[in-house]
Amino acid sequence: MKDYLLKLLLGTCLLLSCSICAQIPEQMIKIIVSPDHDNWEYKTGEKANFTVQVFYHLNPLKEVKAYYEIGPEKMEPVKKDSIMLSGKPFILEGGTLSSPGFLRCVVSVDFEGHRYRGLATAGFNPSAIKPTVKQPADFLTKTMLCITT
């Protein structure tokens, strides 16, 4: 019975967590940023490049400025500049990370009063990312966690 309830609770949590993340709507200007590794993963120290393509009515957008920012996720960008769109894809050199983590490239375009964004995030040895907090000795008693063994 306890096992069944736990499974039911788990299922409910999963279904709830799915239903709250809505799907993103299509946008008129599409900014496609692609990391140059199919699985978006790199080794630490390895260089990541991003290919950028901007589409309007599904054809390449020209003569509009694209702004870009590259840097470790959630940190201040280390690279920030702009480029005039030529209608051809362009490549941004993202550099690398020396420790496990994520490097993000955000590209934005202002067009007819709207700002459009596109991004890609390269992972560097993500399976080696470690938490920053430690587990206190009294964690289980203080959180009164119910563990089934």
Binding site: L6, L10, Q23, G123, P126, Q135, I147
Partner: protein, 85 residues
């Protein structure tokens, strides 16, 4: 830094999801994208990497804080599979 004070740093381990992830005993399916700007993949991996219970990771790389219907379908199929075992 406003948050960088002793009391706050001593309190966060009781709330940080990583410490709950360590205690997981039930199997689970996890899904996320590298472009999530709300729940960053750095913290998702920090928690996921600690899970010793059976785990399946379905990456949908380009997703932000949203999911493709295919991710939901995989999740539900797995759930039905384990519930009807």
């Amino acid at each position: 830094m406003y948050h960088n004070i002793k009391e706050k740093l001593e309190t966060i381990p009781y709330y940080d999801v990583v410490n709950f992830a360590r205690e997981l005993k039930v199997p689970g399916v996890y899904t996320w994208g590298f472009n999530d700007e709300t729940c960053p993949p750095t913290s998702m991996y920090a928690a996921y990497n600690l899970i010793s219970a059976p785990r399946i990771l379905n990456l949908a790389l380009e997703t932000g804080h949203w999911v493709f219907p295919e991710q939901n379908a995989k999740m539900q199929n797995w759930l039905i599979e384990v519930l009807t075992k």
